[in-house]
Symmetry: D2
Subunit: 282 residues, 4 copies
C-alpha cells in the first residue's frame, strides 16, 4: 500500500535545507515524486514544495512529529498533508452565476479535486443551481448588519471544517478583522486585470479607456480592497466593437478560468505567500 504526502514550507534561506528534507524523506522510507524550490534572493527566503510516496502504512501524525525538529531548526512555516485528503472549500456568491457554475462543473466532472461542503450567499438567486449540483446552500442575510452576518459565517466555517473560502463574485465587502483572521485562506476573483481598474464597474472603465486587452485577477483577500497577493491572471482581447456588456461577457470567461486555476493550485498546496506576492509552483 502506497501513501502520498505533500510538504510545503518557507523559511530563511541557508545551506543544507534540501539535504535535511531529503534525509527526512529517506528515513521515513519515502520516494520523491515531484519537487519544486525557489530562492527569493531579494528577501533571503527559501520556498519548497515536495510530494513523496511512502510504501508502508504510515501515520501522518507521527511523520509530522518527526518533521517538527527540522521545521524548528530552520524556522519554517510549513504544512504536511496527506495528498489524497481534499481541501474543504466554502464558496460564497451573490447573484452572478458564471464562476459558481464553472467551479461546480469542474468539481462534478472530477477536474477540481476539492470538497465543497456548502455554498453561502447573501441572496437566494443561486440556490437552485446549488441544489442541482447537490451542494447544500446557506442563505446568510445582511439585514441584521455585517457583524451579525459575519458571526453566522464564522460559525458555518467552524462547523464545516472549512479550510478555504472562495469569493466567486461575492458582492459584499468582508470586515478588516475577518480578512485578517482568515489571511491566506480567502480567494477573491476581481473582474479586471489588477492593478488596473480597481473598484466598481471595471468593464465600463475598460471600455471608456479603450483598452485592447481585458483581464481578471484571482487574489488572496486582505484588508486593502483589491490589493491582496495575486495568484493568477487571465487575459482576453477585445476591440472597439465591444460594448461594455460584451466586454463583461468576454470577461466572465476570464474570471471563471482565473478563479478555477487559483482554487486548484491553492488546494494542491502550490501557492505560497511572500509579502504582497505569491510563489506558485504550477
Amino acid at each position: 500500500m502506497t501513501q502520498s504526502f505533500t510538504l510545503g514550507f518557507s523559511c530563511p534561506d541557508q545551506p543544507g535545507i534540501v539535504h535535511s528534507v531529503s534525509t527526512f524523506i529517506v528515513e521515513i522510507g519515502g520516494n520523491i515524486t515531484e519537487s519544486r524550490q525557489f530562492e527569493d534572493r531579494e528577501n533571503q527566503l527559501f520556498f519548497m514544495r515536495v510530494e513523496f510516496d511512502v510504501k508502508s502504512k504510515t501515520d501522518l501524525e507521527s511523520i509530522r512529529e518527526t518533521f517538527t525538529k527540522i521545521a524548528e531548526k530552520y524556522s519554517m512555516k510549513w504544512r504536511l498533508a496527506d495528498s489524497t485528503q481534499r481541501e474543504r472549500v466554502l464558496i460564497m456568491v451573490s447573484k452572478y452565476e458564471h464562476c459558481l457554475n464553472d467551479l461546480l462543473f469542474r468539481h462534478r466532472s472530477g477536474a477540481l479535486a476539492v470538497d465543497i461542503p456548502l455554498i453561502v450567499s447573501n441572496h437566494r438567486d443561486l440556490e437552485e443551481m446549488a441544489n442541482w449540483y447537490g451542494i447544500p446552500f446557506v442563505h446568510i442575510s445582511q439585514s441584521n448588519g455585517k457583524d451579525a452576518a459575519e458571526e453566522q459565517l464564522r460559525k458555518v466555517i467552524a462547523d464545516n471544517g472549512i479550510e478555504l473560502i472562495v469569493l466567486a463574485r461575492y458582492m459584499q465587502i468582508l470586515s478588516g478583522q475577518f480578512c485578517e483572521d482568515f489571511a491566506g485562506k480567502i480567494i477573491n476573483i476581481h473582474h479586471s486585470f489588477l492593478p488596473s481598474f480597481k473598484g466598481a464597474k471595471p468593464y465600463h472603465q475598460a471600455h471608456t479607456r479603450g483598452v485592447k486587452v481585458i483581464g481578471a485577477t484571482a487574489h488572496y483577500v486582505t484588508r486593502e480592497l483589491d490589493d491582496g497577493p495575486i495568484i493568477e491572471q487571465e487575459v482576453a482581447r477585445v476591440d472597439h466593437s465591444h460594448t461594455p456588456e460584451q466586454i463583461a461577457s468576454v470577461g466572465r470567461d476570464a474570471e471563471a478560468h482565473a478563479l478555477a486555476r487559483a482554487v486548484q493550485w491553492h488546494a494542491e498546496h502550490r501557492v505560497f505567500l511572500s509579502g504582497q506576492r505569491t510563489i506558485v509552483f504550477r
Copy 2:
C-alpha cells in the same frame, strides 16, 4: 493599368452614407476590394475604411475633388490616399535598441511597408544600427534646452515630409504644444499594460506588485502622459521566478510587437480616433 486607393472617414451617423460612398466609387469606375464600417452608437458616429481598385489611369487629385462634395454633405473627417504610396515615418529613439531593431528589420524584410527617411535621437548610441540599416541618423541634442531641440525637430519633420512620428522608446517628454500640433501623428510605446503602472520603472512596479501577466501599450501621444488613445496592447506571462530584469526582457518583446503592429495599422490607414478611444479596422 490598375490603381488602388484607400478612403477612410468618420462623420455623424445618418442613413445613406454607404450608398453615397459606393455610388461615388461606381461613378469613378472603381471596384471595392476591402471595406469595413463601424457605427459608434454611443457617440452617434460612423467610421468607414474602404479600399478600391480603378482600372483606368486616374488622377488622385481629381477624385479627391469629386469626393469633397460627399465629404462636405456628411461633415466627414476624411483621407483619400493612393494605396501604394507609403507613409513617411520618422523614428525617434534614445538608447534602447530593441524597438528600433524590430521596426528596421521588418522594414528591411518588406513586412513593414513604410518609408523611413531618417531616425532622430537625443543620443548617439544607435547611430551605428541606423547606419547598418542604411537609414540617415540625426542627433538632436537636448543640451540647448527642449525648445531649441523641438524647433530643430520641427524643421526635420517639415524638410522630410514626415507624416508619422514613432517614439520607439524615446526617453524625452515632448512639450504639450508639440503633442497638440501633431495630434494623432505621434505613436509611443509604453512599457506597461496601461492603465497599470504609469510613470517610471513599470517593470519594477509589476515585479513589486507580483502580477502574473505583463504587457506593453502602443498609443497616440497627447498632452497627458501615458493617457493617449490606445492602438494596440500585447501581453506576456511572467511568474514569481522572474527578476525585474527578466520581466523587462520579456517585456521588450511585447513592446516591439505592439509597436510594430500599431505602426503598420496606422500606415495602412486602419486606425481612427474617437475621443480617447481608437477604432482599428485590422
Copy 3:
C-alpha cells in the same frame, strides 16, 4: 419601431455589387449598422455580410422579394434574416458533458442567443443535465441500426424546424448521405488541433508525440471525417508533466470554447463557405 436585418451572400466578383446592395438598402429606408466584405482573389469570389436597421414596419418577405432581382443579377448564394430571429439549434451528445454544459450555460445566461428546442443523444447519461437546463431530451437508440436512427433524427429535425445541428462530442459517425443533405448545417468539435491527430484518441497521440501546444477544432461536417471546413480553433499549452488524462482535461476547455464561438458565429450568420475554407466575419 425599428427592425434589424442581416443579409449575407457570396457571388462571383465584379464591380458594382456593393453599390447595388447599398442602393437596395437605401430604397427600403434602411441604415447600415455593420458591414464586412471580403474579396477572395484566388477564386474570384466576393463575400458580404451587412446588418441594417429599418425604421418603418417592414415585411421580411417583401424585402426578400425585392432583393431577389439583385441576387439573380449577380448569381448570389444569399440569406436575408430578421436579426432578432434566433437560429434553431439541435445539440447532439453522447456521454461527455463539458461541451453540452458550456453551451447550455451560455444559452441560459443569454450569452448565446439561439433557440435550443431539444437535445438528442444515443445514450441517456446527459438526460438529467438537459432536464435541469429545461431543454427536452430525446434518446435515439442505435440498436436498430444507423439507418433507423438517422430516419428518426431526420424526423426530429423536420418537426422542430432545426436550422443547425451541433455535435457536442457526439460519438457516432453520421452517414455520408446525411452529411451531404445537411452540408453547412452541422458543426462538429474535434478534440485536436486539426489537421494534426485525426482519428481516435488524439490526446494520447499528442502525449506520445510530445507536443507543447494542443488544440480543438470546430468545423462543418462533410463526408470526409475530420476534414470539413474549419470555423474556429483554440489552443492551450501543455508540457512534459501532463498525463494523457491531464491533456484531455486541458483540452476539454479548449473544445468548449472553440465550439461555443463557432456556434455563435454561425448563428449570427458570420460564417461563409468557400470550398474547403470558411470566411468568418467576426
Copy 4:
C-alpha cells in the same frame, strides 16, 4: 568568491536519488538555488536539474570526479557544468534572415547568453548581416556534394569546440549519419505546427486547409525529417483574409520566438531527452 554550477541528469527511478544528490552538494559546501525534478512514471525514469552555489574556490574537475560515484550507482546520464560557462553555438542558415537576425539581436543585447563563434551557410546572402553583428561567417558550398560539405562542416565544428548546432532556416537536409553523430545537439526550426503540415511549403498547406491558427516548432533533429523530439512550439492566429504570403509573415515571428526559446533552454541545460519527447524545466 561564489561559483555557480548546474547539474542535470536522468536515470532509472528509485528511492534515494534526491537524497544522494543533496548530500553530495552539502559535502562540497554547496547551496541549492534552483531545483526541478520529474518522475516519468510511464517509463520509470527520473529527471533532475539542480543549480547550486559554492562559496569557496572549487575545481570543476574534482567535483565531477566526486559525483561520478553517485552517477554510476544510479546509472545516470549526466552533465555538470560551470553555470557561467556559455554554450558554444554554431548557427547554420541559407537565405532567410529572420531567425538569424532574431538570435543575433538577442545575443548582442545580452538576452541570449551563449557564445556564437561562427555562422555557416550554403549561400553568401547573409554574410553582410553576420559581419555587422561581428560574427565570423563561413560559406560551405554544396557544389562538391553533400559528403564534402559535411566533412568541412565537421572540421569547423571540431575546430571551434561547437556544442550546439542551430538550423535557423537552413534549407539543406543533413545526412542520417550526421544527425546520429550529433543526436540531441542539433536544433531545427520547422515552419509549421508539427505534426501538421510536414514537408514543403507548410504555410501554403495551412492556407489551403483554411486553419485559423498556425505555428512553428523547434525540435531536435533526427534521421526522420521533421519527426524529432519537440522542444518548443509557438502559435499565432490567422484568418481567411491572410494570403499564403501573409501567413508566412506571421509565421516568421512565431519561428523566431520558438527557436530563440529552444536555444536558450538548451543552453541553460533545461532540456532533457526521453525517447521521442523532451522534458523542459522552464
